[in-house]
């Protein structure tokens, strides 16, 4: 069973439906009960601080840290990738989970947020290059575990991978057939 973390930020339905289309059973978890789960998905929409505060309030922060430190299967999406880092320019007073080094920064582009499709180029990965759907005003420029890059105003890191921890700045659940394939390969990896 794959658990989808509900941190009250919405957009849980589209992630669940994407796994439904792949025939993969999921369960939405509001409270951090993970004993029966093989994998965890952390979707995230909205502000960095709002998502982080909701995770802390519900007791997810420590559970997620433990899960990732134990190298269990994890997928973070959008803000669900950003909270893995130390913090974000979006909410400077709020600490992230700190699983990865670096800070999330505002994208320097004429139109912000970035909202639409962009090409994703993987580095040494099981996934194939393609176009992904993005909705974000912030991102990490670099990461020592970066596994994919894209460009919007400037190049940035749009996916990270370390062991069984995987996270994307884009929305695979909204990235058409290619996005479905990313999810399928993640499940089978």
């Amino acid at each position: 069973m794959i658990g989808i973390v509900d941190c009250g930020s919405g957009n849980i339905a589209s992630v669940r439906l994407a796994f439904d289309r792949l025939g993969v059973p999921t369960d939405i978890r509001t409270l951090p009960d993970v004993s029966d789960l093989q994998a965890l998905v952390l979707p995230g929409q909205g502000r960095f601080g709002t998502v982080m505060n909701a995770l802390t309030e519900r007791g997810w922060d420590d559970v997620l840290k433990g899960w990732i430190e134990a190298d269990r299967k994890f997928l973070g999406i959008c803000v669900g990738m950003q909270v893995l880092f130390e913090g974000s320019e979006e909410d400077p007073g709020v600490s992230g989970l700190g699983m990865l080094t670096g800070t999330v920064k505002r994208l320097r582009a004429p139109k912000n947020p970035m909202m639409g499709w962009a090409r994703v180029c993987w580095r040494d990965s099981i996934f194939s290059d393609g176009s992904a759907f993005f909705v974000n005003g912030y991102a990490v420029a670099k990461s020592d575990v970066c596994c994919a890059t894209t460009e919007y105003g400037e190049p940035f890191c749009c996916a990270v991978q370390r062991g069984h921890m995987f996270a994307t700045q884009f929305h695979p659940e909204k990235s058409g057939k290619w996005g479905q394939e990313v999810l399928r390969q993640w499940i089978n990896s």
Binding site: G10, K111, M115, G116, A118, Y152, E173, G176, W178
Partner: protein, 255 residues
């Protein structure tokens, strides 16, 4: 690249849960099931789909919500629902049912604060403002409400700016003059707005061929929308995207 791939958006006018053809409530013709049609467009390479409930009412609300749920189950690309949204509760209902964005038109003109409330609660990324504009004899473009029937006090440029300030995440800019004419998008108003505002602008109204899209994208539109030219089968989205690609416009081809 400092810009995103240019988006092609088919628009489905729906009435009572069916796709209809013919605008302004005349000569409505049943064009089929919205979910089937939307899935076909996704397969053909559509980057997003817009559904406009042209006859939205409280009575039809359950049908519209049911359609949104079915679309969310089947589509793996983003979609927008417009028509009949008058309150934050209305917006919540459709976003909760699975719509990625909601589009406000007359309701925003009636109460611009609604856009602000929606943006604060759900985020600007799901707030689309649809605006219908028309060239006035005095030489500026005016904004119309109620399906283009009622003139407002706003000019297109001032309304677009106001909506950005209120938190709109995207503008769907339809030219009433061009709609249904086949003369191409009205870039005289779309270009200055798309080039000066910090949010994406979707060109709408008047397109019937590849060249109209090429011109719109060369002149700054972030996305372009059409209905009849896709429904009629005159233009297949995949063919249009390949034509755009040949013209040097960046589009998503791996669908």
């Amino acid at each position: 690249m400092d810009q995103l791939l240019k988006r092609i958006i088919p628009c489905l006018d729906v009435d009572g849960g069916r796709v209809v053809k013919g605008t302004h409530f005349v000569n409505l013709r049943d064009m089929g099931d919205p979910v089937e049609l939307a899935v076909r467009y996704e397969t053909q390479g559509a980057d997003e789909v817009v559904f406009l409930d042209i006859n939205a009412s409280a009575e039809h609300r359950p049908t519209a919500l049911d359609m949104v749920r079915r679309v969310a189950e089947s589509l793996s690309i983003p979609f927008t629902l417009g028509g009949g949204l008058r309150s934050v509760d209305d917006m919540y209902a459709f976003l909760d049912a699975g719509a990625d964005k909601v589009a406000l038109n007359s309701a925003a003109l009636h109460d611009p604060g609604l856009v602000e409330l929606g943006a604060r609660q759900f985020g600007s990324q799901c707030m689309v403002v649809a605006m219908d504009v028309k060239l006035e004899p005095a030489g500026y473009h005016g904004v119309y409400s109620h399906g283009g029937r009622k003139q407002t006090r706003w000019t297109a440029k001032s309304w677009a700016r106001e909506m950005v300030n209120r938190g709109a995440g995207e503008l769907l800019l339809t030219s009433i003059d061009r709609d249904g004419t086949g003369c191409g998008f009205d870039m005289d108003i779309i270009e200055p707005i798309a080039r000066t505002l910090p949010i994406p602008v979707i060109a709408s109204g008047g397109a019937v061929n590849d060249d109209h899209f090429i011109t719109a994208f060369r002149r700054g539109a972030d996305a372009a929308l059409a209905a009849t030219m896709f429904h009629s089968g005159d233009v297949i989205i995949g063919d249009l995207k390949r034509a755009l690609n040949r013209a040097g416009i960046p589009v998503r081809l791996d669908y």
